[in-house]
Amino acid sequence: MNSVPPQQRRAWPEKLAVRIPYVWLLVFFVLPLAMLLRISLSQPARAQPPYAPVFDLTAGWHGITTFFDGLSLDNYRLLGSDPLYLVALLKSVQIAAFATLLLLLIGYPIAYGITRMPRRARAVLIALVMVPLWTAPLIRTYAWMSILRPDGSLNWLLLTLHIVATPPLWLTTDAAIYIGIVYSHLPLMVLPLYATLQKIDERLIEAAADLGCPRWRIFWQVTLPLSAPGVLAGALLCFIPAVGEFIVPDLLGSLQTPMIGQIIWNAFFANVDWPAAAAVAAALFAFLVAPLAIFLHQTMRAVERAR
């Protein structure tokens, strides 16, 4: 029966429950984003808050006009004129992209391997994959600092096993940044991959074998294409936060060529230039995060329809 669902007759608690996600998005996403945009259009000031103009309702209509007159795009012009920002952005994208590739190469076999395990082992292994998420990012990065120190455990291991003759330098190199990012983002790659891989109907694999496809070719022709949504979700879940990564490059990388996250951090806390920091953040969001999020949303919708 194709009767009309009784949407009009929903009681108010149900209506409220349906709207909670939107309220959440409004309060914790749209409003902060609006505040960020508003600060990015201001000028730094030695005051509390450290930017001007301030919206002053007590001054009436005059207050409102002064506020809007005080807003400008100066900070965005600064972003265009100083190559520091573009260099930092390109470096961030490059590091995030390569780290995402590494994450895929490491995370896919892990996720695939877990789906091949007996059911009970799978739950345990997935929990183990998530363990790094349960420690604070700062603490796990400090742990990596001690491992990667010139006299740290990694070099001790390499020297003991005679893999290297002289201890290589890890800290302040991009390699250290990759290690830190890959380590901390691995759960975000493995989980969506695992979720899509374990949903793949085993009979599709068998059907492919039945039609003359050997095991390794089944992977390329059936398993991999069917796990594409997981690859995409994992890649974006890792890539987007990796672009804005701050702790890892700050503690493990070099200060000569900062990533965009460090630029924002410095502008906020070292220079107390909130408007400049807000402008960088807003630009990053506009050029990178928003298009990717929309792309992901569209793709997921298409995938859902295809099921």
Binding site: D201, R203, E206, A207, A209, D210, Q221, R305, A306, R307
Partner: protein, 376 residues
């Protein structure tokens, strides 16, 4: 036309020297403590349509999967053309299986699904396209080649799955519950189309199903399975008219089972709920042994008056339920000792016999030839 037109009338399984195309020998498969297939042997001949019929969990799917190579039997062998398949992986076996719920590749369109197997064989693209087009025409899916599986109806998906296996020209086609997802009308239609395809392509087919009418329509022979073993293997008519056990009689169609003892003459069953019953064939059991007389409901005659002279097998009872199906009417009646039996009457004339009402006292009778005596 060709000789193949008459294959239906040739019965290779009756020829002791005929070499079967597919031979299953003493095959067993356990999963932990559960026995899925229990020392089963079966020969399927070239051009035969063999139906494995049984309730869910009887082991028919495991049997098919063993033939396809997805299960490794604990004992026994599968031979194709006399060659043991044990060492042959599924992707090298020259037979194809159609899975229940079809297992179509959701990321590929109809053409790519159908061409999948040919691509694996490394055929040139043009040959693949040609054979795929031919096959789509054969299963009446022209013009739908670019659709994705989720854009198709259930019977269209079935056709794609069929085309995908048939395009490989399998030596044996294995069908696992191919019709379960279809509603009844489509199911019967699909059965007839399957038979038509089988004739045109001269296929050898093994179908596993729990749908008895489907099995009876398509099967040259039907093998009734229960708990991992074959209970009876015979033509559909023989399965229905001469079941060899209560299980087969009950699983295939409706049946009234009347328990009793073999009479001294060997031609009667005594002390049943319907009294002493006379049967046409000599009973294969010693006098006094417990047996079951099986009578199909449509073989019972209903009388509103006591028939005179009293026929051989006659009992009276009270009508307790009437089911009017249009083409026929089912009467349930209770005999004197409380046993319920079923009788069906074909509604051939417009004024059907359903003038018989509930709670009415009636007499039922059947000819001695109508009953089969079962010893197990």
């Amino acid at each position: 036309m060709h000789a193949r037109e008459t294959t239906r009338h040739i019965a290779p399984w009756t020829d002791a020297h005929a070499r079967p195309l597919l031979r299953i020998e003493d095959l067993s498969k356990r999963f932990g403590a559960a026995i899925a297939v229990d020392r089963l042997s079966l020969d399927v001949h070239e051009g035969e349509f063999f139906a494995l019929l049984g309730p869910s969990g009887c082991g028919k799917t495991v049997l098919l999967r063993s033939v396809a190579g997805f299960e490794h039997p604990d004992t026994g062998r599968v031979l194709l053309d006399g060659v043991d398949l044990a060492a042959v992986p599924p992707y090298r076996r020259p037979l194809n299986m159609m899975f229940q719920s079809y297992a179509l590749f959701p990321h590929l369109d109809v053409e790519a699904n159908v061409g999948f197997g040919l691509k694996q064989d490394g055929l040139p693209k043009r040959d693949i396209a040609e054979r795929v087009a031919d096959m789509l025409a054969m299963v009446k899916l022209e013009g739908l080649g670019r659709r994705k599986p989720h854009e198709l109806s259930g019977d269209q998906q079935l056709r794609v799955a069929l085309a995908r296996t048939l395009v490989k020209r399998p030596r044996v086609l294995l069908l696992d519950e191919p019709l379960a997802a279809l509603d009844r009308k489509l199911r019967d239609q699909a059965c007839f189309e399957l038979m038509e395809l089988k004739r045109r392509l001269n296929l050898t087919v093994v179908i596993a199903t729990q749908d008895q009418s489907g099995a009876m329509i398509v099967g040259d022979r039907v093998g009734v399975m229960d708990r991992g073993g074959l209970m009876q293997v015979a033509t559909p008519a023989k399965i229905y008219e001469q079941p060899n056990s209560r299980f087969v009689a009950d699983f295939v169609g409706e049946v009234n089972l009347l328990e009793g003892r073999v009479g001294d003459d060997g031609f009667s069953v005594e002390a049943t709920a319907a009294g002493r019953l006379r049967v046409a064939a000599k009973i294969d059991a010693v006098p006094g042994a417990t047996v079951f007389a099986a009578v199909r409901p449509e073989k019972l005659r209903i009388h509103r008056e006591p028939p005179s002279p009293p026929p051989d097998n006659c009992a009276d009872g009270i009508i307790i339920d009437i089911g009017y199906l249009g083409d026929l009417t089912i009467y349930k009646l209770r005999l004197a000792d409380g046993t319920t039996i079923k009788a069906t009457v074909t509604n051939a004339g417009r004024i059907a016999a359903h003038t018989i009402g509930r709670d009415e006292r009636v007499w039922v009778s059947f000819a001695p030839e109508a009953a089969v005596v079962l010893t197990r």
